[in-house]
């Protein structure tokens, strides 16, 4: 009996043979899908959704140069009258939950990024995007798309990085000479199938030959990646014909096409340039505008892809920036920040958490979320992650409870 015959018989006998779960794709296409947008470098919430401003031109050491009278409002959300905030919040306030006064407990970039996106200040926890993808769609070929930022996976899921989308057809159809599935092939379909069978049959021999834990893991990685290989073809069906110039929008296009194709679950999108230690307003506001235009685009594109009702978008940064300008008109690192959460299951037009005139958080009652100075708690990334995990339906997953429990922080009703 040759090896292929053995596998056929094994399959017929009901023995375990690794294949992609048949129902997986349909389930994944149902969402919800998650996009995490990272403003890299530490954004300034007082220039966005936690506005302070200055009374007049005589005010010394103001937090911002705009005037308090100019602070905008969209529903219950107040925003700084700079950058592209007005356009963004007027359009999206109904789906936006603002979390202000979030204490990252650090002013170190690495630690802040880790805390914001893993819910833990110390090292070792995967990004929430990887955790959700790892629980819900570990074998999906683009389950976790990352464009940088904090993207530790701990092996829960293979991260996918994107490049020039122009080559995606060639990637999707590796046996098609020019990437056209209807065109000429390197090998006949029967031969290609024969090659893939032969590759599959080598797995057990390889595992015997390289009998080290790491080798077995590595062999399993490759064979696992191959199981969802053909699904990549679906991505090319949903990619737009024109790609946007702005990097954040382009990242969104790929992520949303992968979601629509049923091969993606979560994506990390990143935009840099927020670490404005000098000339803050002139350097920071254009980046904020590009960020908010990018988030706006996410929703437009999600509508076009018909998945907006299944999408959750979380926007955050390493930490905040100091309440006031330094000698170079810049702003340095400040541990207090804000987070925006939008989309499916998120009660919008709402602000939770406040800060005082120096951008110091005012404690909140963990039950009512109302201000409770001196007797309440500070909102920390752990609280947000606890709520996000619940929203994502992974809070009670064995993997999450066993390997990545959050600390004993309170369970805040952030999403109602």
């Amino acid at each position: 009996m040759d090896r292929r015959d053995f596998l056929r018989l094994a399959g017929a006998a009901g023995l375990a043979v690794v294949t992609a779960p048949l129902g997986a794709r349909a389930q994944e296409a149902d969402g919800p899908f998650w996009i995490f947008v990272h403003a890299s470098g530490g954004w300034d919430p007082t220039s966005l959704c936690d506005p302070k401003g200055r009374r007049d031109e005589m005010q010394e050491n103001p937090l911002n140069m705009y005037f308090t009278d100019d602070i905008g409002e969209a529903g219950n959300i107040r925003y700084a009258p700079v950058a592209w905030n007005h356009e963004f919040f007027q359009k999206h306030y109904r789906r936006t939950l603002v979390l202000n006064g979030v204490d990252t407990q650090t002013n170190n970039h690495d630690a802040g990024m880790r805390h914001t996106w893993s819910g833990r200040l110390s090292e070792g926890y995967p990004a929430l995007a990887a955790l959700i993808a790892g629980v819900h769609s570990p074998r999906s070929p683009m389950s976790f798309i990352t464009n940088g930022g904090y993207d530790l996976t701990n092996g829960l899921v293979a991260p996918t990085r994107t490049g020039n989308i122009g080559v995606i057809h060639r990637i999707a159809h590796p046996n098609a000479i020019d990437g056209n599935p209807e065109g000429s092939k390197f090998h006949t379909p029967a031969t290609m199938s024969r090659i893939q069978d032969a590759l599959t049959e080598r797995q057990s021999w390889l595992e015997r030959t390289f009998a080290l834990p790491k080798a077995k893991h590595a062999i399993g990685q490759l064979y696992g990646a191959r199981t969802g290989r053909n699904d990549v073809q679906r991505l090319s069906e949903f990619l737009p014909s024109q790609f946007e110039g702005a990097p954040l929008k382009r990242q969104a296009q790929v992520a949303l096409a992968a979601f629509r194709a049923g091969i993606g679950r979560c994506a990390n999108l990143t935009i840099g340039g927020f670490d404005t230690h000098g000339d803050h307003d002139n350097q920071h506001f254009p980046r904020l505008a590009e960020l908010m235009q990018g988030v706006d685009y996410i929703w437009d594109e999600a509508e076009r892809q018909q998945i907006a009702d299944k999408l959750v978008v979380v926007v955050g940064s390493d930490f905040g920036r100091t309440p006031g300008y330094n000698e170079g008109d810049g702003k340095d690192h400040w541990s207090i920040t804000s987070v925006l959460v939008m989309g499916a299951g998120v009660p919008g037009n709402r602000v939770i958490g406040t800060t005082d005139e120096h951008h110091v958080p005012i404690e909140v009652d963990p039950a009512t979320l109302r201000e409770k100075p001196g007797a309440g708690i500070r909102i920390r990334p752990q609280h947000i992650h606890r709520a996000l995990r619940r929203l994502a339906g992974i809070a009670d997953a064995d993997l999450v409870l066993r390997r990545y429990p959050l600390d004993d922080s309170e369970d805040l009703p952030l999403f109602g």
Binding site: D2, R3, D103, T106, N107, L121, P141, M142, G148, D151, T153, G155, P159, T160, R161, T162, G163, N164, G166, I171, A172, P174, I177, F186, H187, T188, T191, R194, I195, A198, L199, R202, Q203, W205, L206, T209, F210, L212, P213, K214, A215, A218, I219, Q221, L222, Y223, A225, R226, R229, D231, V232, I263, H277, G278, N326, G328, G330, S335, H358, P361
Partner: protein
């Protein structure tokens, strides 16, 4: 000296005993034996974690209440903290009162102790300190290398296989038959000699630069004028001299590219130069020169004599007049890649020097929560413990960069450094005022003399070869895998420490590290069949099995197929070009994307398969254009060798040649030695035969062309794209053997063994 009778954690025992605790004692004196527990092991298991870290370090730390005492402990997890604290405790333990060490008297409050009583007499912690004091008085050492005994149970690659692996990785070439024979007969000494020779060859320096760029990321500035534009124009008025050459000419384009890229790679080229010329690696920080090629010399305004003024690969030492060179630290590229601001005051630069060259990530200390909203101190970086925990170490070296401004310009500060910061220096030492003008040179010498500098160099080479950085010291005893992680960490640390000593003894010759690593089981581990579950858990990190990076896969294709992934030499390299598969396949751009993807996903699996398809298409027909003796892939067959005759009967001679070639391909492409009749040979043979049969029938029924697809035609030279003579062109395949061989080569190129390190 004496031997300990104490037993420690099970893993420690296992590692020490190696062959089991019932082995007869062949200790031969004080050093070694089956129950030997070294002083350092005892310190780590019984004293450091349970006593010093849990109790003493709360006050006895550089910022703590007992910071002015003799017992100031380094934080757990800091590089070398165990050794540091061991030495510190040993020194303090030597102070006695009435014959009793003060490390027994103070924490038990038998004499005055600022922190009052912390430990009960006769408690477990006290007993541990008692034995530690005894060990300081009468040291216990164990057999050198005992810590590696578990790893020694692992089956490693033999020397010829190791040579193949190392040569492909270091040079991007397969070993020759002579080299394999030399190693097979000459053993370790012959192996070392060959590795030594490889390290003298130029491709190694390309690999070396990649290893270091993965840390420095100065390749961000390659291309365009990205690097040149960062040179301050007032200091380098000739930086864009090439603009005098019309840029629409080949000379203009090349001159600009060679200039910019030599400036961009100044730090990496300096590293390569130092290693190539067997200079002490400490020159990386202390050299009073930089290196330039004929193009960057002009941009820097330097007069240097070159053998070939048009050779971009000819680098020479050079000194910029009045510039206080301190190796790569004063390179404008280093200073720009790790920029600073008016308020940052070079702290970022300091942090990166600690991280890159002293194997210490200072900001790991900042993982404890800080709350700047409650800090009310005047000048908190000087006075608030939440801040000083990092700044005490960070700021002196930041000050040493005092003469380099935010743009990396040399701008001497004769007025000195900020008075609200710690003075420029390194560690406990301060830059003397008369050295301020060359503060960084002063600090560089101190840095290079620190043993952590040698360790950092070992880490970089080890990471490059093994494919992962050394494990960090586990510090969380509540982690269920703590003991096994610690056990592996100990083995690895012991190896790295020994390698560091070899490196230092070699006069800091970086090449000395490579043979140590490639000889080691950390590089050669292949299999382990006799381990129980617990042992397997300890050895989980062992082995070099990982996905090849785009650069490594590219080099491997060149090694085995004679060309990278592209049809013709003038085409884009599919794995390395940013507009092709480089980023999809996990590569970096040294700018926004700094971490490589090491776990394959569906996209990467498809790219690997496409690579296998395209490369078999490009190279199989081309190999048949060559005379058999010159072929890389098919030295044992011709296209006319058919496994069966027209009646379906086997043709034994042809079948044997085909099988022989299959075994050859398994070895050439995968490094896999198959004996005749091996099941893997049979599997590949069946793939060949079944593909051939299928194709032959399709051709006979006009369902397949007797010609190869145009993309696979071998009618032109790879390098020159010149047309081949008619008799050498290969494009017809009426017998369908070429396509059957293409299927075989696709199969092997897509295999785990090809696209992964083993």
């Amino acid at each position: 000296m004496r031997r300990s009778e104490r037993r420690l954690l099970p893993w420690t025992l296992l590692l020490v005993l190696g062959c089991g605790e019932n082995q007869p004692d062949e200790g031969g004196g004080a050093n070694g034996g089956d129950d030997c527990v070294s002083d350092m092991q005892f310190f780590r298991e019984k004293v450091s974690q349970p006593v010093l870290e849990r109790i003493c370090s709360n006050c006895h730390n550089p910022q703590g209440a007992a910071r002015d005492s003799k017992l100031v402990l380094a934080a757990a997890g800091e590089t070398g903290y165990l050794q540091t604290n061991f030495e510190t405790l040993k020194e303090v333990a030597s102070f006695e009162k009435e014959g009793e060490s003060i490390i027994l008297l103070k924490p038990t409050a038998q004499i005055d102790h600022g922190g009052a009583q912390q430990i009960e007499v006769d408690s477990e912690q006290y007993d541990a300190l008692v034995e530690m004091v005894e060990r300081f008085r009468n040291p216990v050492t164990c057999d050198d290398g005992g810590d590696l005994s578990l790893i020694d149970k692992v089956q490693v690659l033999d020397l010829p296989a190791t040579l193949r692996k190392a040569k492909v990785q270091i040079l991007g070439e397969l070993p020759t038959a002579d080299e394999l024979e030399t190693v097979a007969t000459g053993g370790q000494q012959a192996f070392d000699g060959l590795i030594h020779d490889y390290l003298a060859r130029e491709p190694f320096y390309g690999v070396l630069k990649r290893w270091f760029n993965d840390r420095l990321h100065t390749d961000k500035y390659l291309g365009g004028e990205r690097a040149v534009s960062l040179l301050p124009e007032d200091q380098y008025p000739r930086r864009t001299y090439y603009r005098e050459i019309p840029e629409d000419t080949e000379e203009g384009r090349l001159t600009r590219r060679h200039t910019n890229d030599a400036v961009a790679r100044e730090p990496l080229e300096l590293i390569a130069y130092i290693v190539r010329h067997d200079k002490p690696f400490t020159d990386v920080l202390t050299a009073d020169y930089t290196v330039v090629n004929p193009f960057s010399a002009r941009a820097f305004g330097l007069q240097v004599q070159f053998e070939n003024p048009n050779d971009p690969n000819e680098f020479h030492e050079a000194r910029i007049q009045g510039y206080p060179h301190a190796g790569l630290l004063t390179s404008p590229m280093f200073l720009n890649r790790f920029p600073t601001t008016e308020t940052n005051r070079n702290r970022h630069r300091s942090r990166m020097v600690w991280k890159l060259f002293l194997a210490t990530d200072i900001l790991k200390k900042a993982e404890q929560p800080v709350d700047p909203t409650r800090i009310k101190d005047h000048n908190p970086t000087m006075h608030n413990p939440q801040c000083t925990i990092c700044h005490a170490q960070l700021d002196p070296l930041a000050g040493a960069f005092m003469n380099f401004d935010t743009q990396g310009r040399y701008d001497r500060r004769d007025e000195g450094w900020y008075i609200d910061m710690r003075p420029p220096g390194f560690g406990e030492e301060t830059v003397p005022a008369d050295e301020w003008g060359r503060a960084l040179q002063w600090a560089a010498k101190k840095l290079a003399a620190d043993e952590k500098f040698a360790l950092a160099a070992v880490h970089t080479v080890y990471t490059g070869l093994v494919g992962r950085p050394p494990l960090e010291n586990p510090t969380d005893p509540s982690d269920p895998a703590f003991a096994s992680k610690r056990a592996f960490y100990d083995m690895e640390e012991a190896f790295l420490d020994r390698t560091k000593k070899v490196f230092i003894e070699s006069g800091y010759n970086l090449k000395s590290i490579v043979p140590e690593v490639v000889r080691s089981p950390f590089y050669r581990a292949q299999s382990a069949l006799q381990l129980d579950d617990a042992e397997q858990q300890v050895l989980e990190p062992l082995g070099t099995m990982r996905l090849l990076t785009p650069e490594e896969l590219d080099a491997k294709l060149v090694a085995v197929l004679g060309q990278p992934w592209k049809r013709r030499a003038g085409d884009r390299d599919q794995l390395l070009h940013g507009e092709e598969y480089r980023f999809f396949y996990g590569g970096i751009d040294s700018d926004q994307v700094l971490e490589r993807v090491t776990e394959p996903n569906g996209i990467m699996a498809n790219i690997a398969l496409r690579m296998a398809n395209e490369m078999s298409c490009f190279t199989v027909p081309r190999d048949f254009t060559r005379d058999r003796a010159e072929r890389l892939l098919f030295p044992h067959v011709e296209v006319g060798f058919l496994p069966e005759d027209r009646n379906g009967f086997a043709v034994p001679e042809a079948e044997e040649a085909i099988r022989r070639n299959i075994r050859y391909l398994h070895y050439r492409l995968l490094g896999e030695v198959l004996t005749p009749g091996h099941p893997e040979e049979e599997a590949t043979f069946q793939l060949f035969v079944q593909t051939w049969r299928e194709g032959l029938a399709l051709v006979a029924n006009d369902q397949a062309s007797p010609e190869l697809h145009g993309a696979c035609h071998a009618t032109r030279e790879y390098e020159t794209d010149a047309e081949l003579p008619e008799g050498h062109r290969v494009y017809r395949d009426g017998a369908y053997t070429i396509r059957a061989w293409m299927a075989v080569v696709t199969y092997l190129l897509a295999d785990w063994r090809f696209i992964y390190h083993q």
